[in-house]
């Protein structure tokens, strides 16, 4: 089995003639937590949508588990079901927390009884939603709703978990619960996790490797220590100093 779950080459995405992503090379390894940082409008969310096969790239290829996908060839449902994203704004159904969390299992025709039911119960309790199991999910607070979204993504143990600024706008308690859950998921399953954040402190806390995306280009990828202590690229240095302007080209 290859060490990389994703391998991306010359990936580009254009909207209305404007190129928002132009990425030479990128790899996501099995069992790693990768932090993708960058200023707003850098193309981070676009990149995640392409990795989740929610959109087709304009150019380039995405290798997933060694299989090549591009603009013409997109994966089948079974392959797509190995990846999921937790978005910045949790989108929940107008039903109970339990029904929301078990949605991915139900659409996969997985029967939820016995051991699995206990496992889902434990997941809901571990993320601090035990008392809210039968409460309407769309009536929850922002932090609780995002925790439901995280539990829903973890319940079917995806091969790749993508997180698009999952804790922005959340209070420190909720941030801590979600970060802990992500770390535990990796420890337990050794699955790959890629999260996008503009919070460098979060990248420092969670990521094994960190990459800077700026104006659609991947500027630098390094292990966490090197990225923060001795970055090679001037743009990375400036980003870490909070001095990277959006107008600057890569």
């Amino acid at each position: 089995m290859e060490s990389s779950v994703y391998s991306v080459k010359n990936l580009s995405k254009t909207y209305d003639g404007k190129e928002v992503l132009n990425l030479d090379e990128f790899e996501l390894h099995r069992g790693e937590i990768f932090g993708l940082v960058g200023p707003s409008g850098a193309g981070k969310s676009t990149f995640l949508r392409l990795l989740n096969f929610l959109e087709k790239p304009t150019g380039g290829i995405i290798r997933f588990n060694g299989r090549k996908y591009d603009r013409e060839e997109q994966p089948d449902l079974e392959t797509r079901r190995r990846v999921t994203t937790v978005f910045q704004k949790p989108a929940l159904m107008k039903s109970s927390v339990w029904k929301n969390v078990t949605y991915p299992l139900r659409i996969r025709d997985i029967e939820i009884d016995g051991e699995l039911e206990n496992k889902v119960d434990k997941l809901i309790s571990d993320i601090g939603l035990g008392d809210l199991k039968y409460k309407r999910a769309d009536k929850l607070s922002g932090g609780e709703a995002q925790r439901v979204a995280v539990a829903r993504a973890l319940v079917f143990e995806p091969e790749v978990l993508l997180l698009d600024e999952p804790t922005s706008n959340l209070d420190p308690t909720n941030i801590s619960i979600i970060e802990e859950k992500i770390e535990r998921y990796r420890e337990k399953t050794h699955k790959a996790i890629l999260f996008v954040t503009h919070n460098i402190f979060q990248a420092r806390r969670l990521a094994d490797r960190v990459g800077l995306l700026h104006k659609g280009c991947l500027i630098e990828v390094k292990d966490r220590e090197t990225f923060f202590s001795s970055p090679e690229n001037e743009l990375t240095e400036r980003f870490l100093e909070g001095d990277l302007l959006h107008e600057e080209t890569c």
Partner: protein, 231 residues
């Protein structure tokens, strides 16, 4: 005032006595309305969902036509169905004219744009992020549509209520294609019209009150569902 009192007491008597002729009219009204509504729902809900979710060339025109259909004069629909099912019409050989089936067809055409439009609007109001999220969680196209219908259920219920209101109270088209034949095509609205013409205001009013009671009970059920969903 006397006519009103007479009407109320007659309605009460008819209901207590379970007058077979009135009962037949009520049952036929419910059967015809129920069938038309059922057809509108099974066609209109999927159609409204697809129209709410899928972008296609000419969508604006189709939407405008649909909205026009919502305000279509029932008597024109009746005329259209009459021509279609008359002896020289394309469906003449079916022999449906002046039968309950023709009424069902006219009422379905009448309520379909209402059901479809309300469902479409309701589906369009579903957060795009939810659709994106469902896809990301691995929903197939069919599962995605079903989830969206379930999320838009409040709007779908309003659609059914609007469709029900339109068909149960309809008289022009029903009269044209049904002919108000006793025991065959006489429904509450056409019976009211007939009794009024014959000067039986009490009976006409009694039938009117029964019609209102049916509409009231149906709307109570709908409100109960809505209340449960909003809570």
């Amino acid at each position: 005032m006397d006519t009103l009192i007479e009407g109320f007491s007659e309605a009460l008597l008819l209901l207590i006595r379970l007058d077979p002729q009135v009962l037949e009219i009520i049952l036929l009204s419910l059967r015809v309305t129920g069938s038309a509504l059922f057809l509108s729902v099974i066609i209109g809900v999927p159609l409204g969902t697809v129209m709410g979710m899928v972008e296609f060339p000419g969508k604006k025109i189709v939407t405008a036509l649909l909205y026009t259909g919502m305000g279509f004069p029932p008597v024109v629909i009746g005329l259209f169905v009459f021509i279609m099912f008359s002896a020289s019409g394309p469906f003449g050989q079916l022999g449906w004219l002046f039968t309950a089936r023709a009424i069902v067809v006219a009422q379905t055409i009448l309520s379909l744009p209402l059901v479809t439009s309300f469902v479409m609007t309701s589906v369009m109001s579903i957060d795009d992020n939810l659709i994106k999220q469902m896809k990301s969680l691995g929903a197939s196209r069919k599962q995605l549509y079903w989830t969206v219908i379930k999320e838009a259920r409040l709007g779908a219920v309003v659609a059914i209520a609007a469709g029900f209101g339109a068909v149960i109270s309809e008289v022009g088209a029903v009269m044209l294609v049904g002919g108000n034949i006793e025991g065959k095509t006489r429904v509450l609205t056409t019976a009211i019209m007939l009794e009024t013409r014959q000067g039986n205001f009490g009976l006409a009013l009694a039938l009117g009150i029964i019609l209102l009671i049916i509409a009231f009970i149906t709307n109570m059920f709908i409100m109960k569902f809505q209340h449960r969903e909003i809570k």
